[in-house]
Subunit: 363 residues, 2 copies
């Protein structure tokens, strides 16, 4: 078990488990990135017989243990807690049977807007041909107004609000939920809207790597009063699978590129239409053109922390955003309502096709 | 008029206006904080006869012009826009008559949770004894699910979601809304919940200054790829008025102190119950005790950007948060539901009393 007080290299995976159903592998070693201390790591492994085989292919990668990729938490304190209250989801380990409710989840789809995520859940329900009546698809987090959550077969859909702090709270509690529910081989995809850079409005961008306002592939996490830099790489194989899926849809312009993630929609994204604007149009265009040159094709507000946290916790993750405007041309969306709605549905359509393909439901 | 491309010293106020109803004062000068260039500043002033006298006292301070304190935008581009779409509020200058809808607003109350802000609006409606039927108080932003907004007499109530980016988007659009609506002498108060440090659960904290994770009274705003540091001081007179109001309510423990604002609820606030935790209980307690020593009495996630933006735009601002738990004792709220609800209502009660006092409605 990882000792409290040390942050390990993200490439050194440590699986935290419950005592039953698991066995210990021979100990290995890793250096603490904060203080350099070499530590003994006990990797605990789930017995293969406990969970039935998944539909997904069993690839060998850094997150795989005997063909199963569990959702990790990296917190040695959780086991000692009598109860874990997932406050912002209105769920808990004592009040809910999380393995029974969520144990079969294989896909998690997240997005900012509660309404759009509800629409996606209803769309997935139809696309998967599930027997349950549509009106029975209820918000699992109805007891709180922070996030909404729907489950349709193996697909869990959750809203995350706007910005890094808001999605970060949801991800902490979602990852604990998936861990408590003993989920394995989970794929997580953020679907959303974003500002395009130098690409035609309506293009869908699949993120290869999330970068910050300085075009760096990093997420700076403040931990107490220290800053820890985390990797923001997303799953290459997953993004390629999604890109291949997009080719099957007629008139569906899609590309793979870098996504810039900012803490602010106005000054931080070079908009000239905020309450505060201290830069010129020329400076704005210079910045956006430098971003383009660095490989950035769209800007949103959640991808760096999403990539960092999912990467650390063994979730294969992708970000798929449509771009209703080209920020080299304008700052405000001024599209006819039906065109905007159609654009917003593009990522949903792609992810639905991808999930159906993964589940072997495509023709 | 302030030329695009320069950020002025926050103490140098520049009022942006429409051509009608205004006159020019003799030009003054200010140095650009980015490049040092001394610029000629034309301060434009509204003619005293246009808006009726406010109920609030006319104090002389840096935001006052002939007894009127207007809401400033600091963006020279806004005037040249044919239409300003306040996208996340689902309002706009062409689609809505903003002066008619909002011109009489004197108090703006903001908080994270949509449900709690709706409850506050209904409570204010009752407390102000307004004639309009309760069922007619509708969400003005019903066309979007990003924020909700209610108006009850001179009180505008808005939700802002969780975290700095989410409240920042709302504030940009709210400030433009108040500017377009030609509001003056506006007081804005954030009401919310927070984690207490070294104080009894249930205590209400009125913030004197917001500090960051390093206990510094600053907000670091990324503008393009530059970092600009902004002041996070709140209105001293307003916080004292609120504190005096609290003394009138029986059994209402209240104090004035520093509020720490973080980008993260778990690792950034030293919680031991997140999906990721790389520090020990000792390190957590050491950090929180150092925060206490630096004057911090509670932790939340919006106050620095709220103080910075309101200060720059001429809004007298306060932050009033209740503390349902003492973070030196625990990380999770584990109170009976009715106690938690009672705590959450404390800031609402104080602000309602304050507004009634300001409007001369108290006995």
């Amino acid at each position: 078990m990882l000792a409290p007080g040390c942050e390990l290299d993200p490439d050194q995976e440590v699986v935290r488990t419950r005592p039953e159903d698991y066995f210990l592998r021979p100990p290995s070693h890793a250096a603490c990135t904060a203080c350099g201390t070499v530590m003994t790591i006990h990797i605990v492994e789930r017995m293969a017989s406990v969970i039935p085989a998944s539909n997904s292919s069993m690839r060998s990668d850094r997150n795989t243990y005997v063909g199963k990729r569990f959702v990790h938490v990296k917190n040695a304190y959780l086991d000692s807690m009598d109860e874990d209250i997932l406050y912002h989801l209105d769920l808990g380990t004592k009040t809910h049977n999380l393995p029974a409710m969520f144990g079969d989840v294989k896909f998690v789809c997240v997005g900012g807007s509660p309404n759009r995520m509800k629409a996606f859940a209803l769309f997935m329900h139809k696309e998967l041909g599930l027997e349950e009546a549509e009106e029975d698809i209820k918000d699992i987090c109805a007891g709180t107004d922070r996030y909404c959550m729907y489950k349709t077969g193996p697909v869990l859909t959750i809203s995350h609000g706007m910005g890094i702090p808001s999605i970060s709270i949801m991800l902490h509690e979602l990852i604990k939920l998936l861990h408590h529910a003993r989920c394995c081989d989970v794929t997580i995809i953020r679907i959303g809207t974003s500002g395009g850079i130098g690409i035609a409005p309506g293009t869908v961008v699949i993120t290869d790597i999330a970068v910050d306002s300085f075009f760096k592939p990093r997420f700076e996490q403040v931990i107490l009063d220290n800053i820890v830099t985390r990797s923001t790489e997303l799953d290459k194989e997953l993004s390629e699978e999604l890109f291949n899926c997009s080719k099957e849809i007629p008139n569906f312009p899609t590309l793979i590129g870098h996504t810039m993630c900012t803490y602010d929609f106005y000054e931080g994204q070079g908009r000239l239409d905020g309450a505060l604007c201290s830069f010129s149009r020329g400076k704005k265009l210079d910045y956006l053109k430098r971003a383009y040159k660095a490989g950035v094709r769209n800007i949103e507000m959640e991808s760096t922390v999403f990539a960092a946290m999912c990467g650390l916790c063994g979730l294969k993750a992708a970000v798929v955003c449509v771009t209703p405007l080209n920020r080299l041309d304008c700052d405000q969306i001024n599209l006819p309502h039906d065109v905007l709605v159609e654009y917003q549905q593009q990522p949903q359509l792609l992810i639905s096709n991808f999930i159906r393909w993964r589940l072997g439901l495509c023709d």
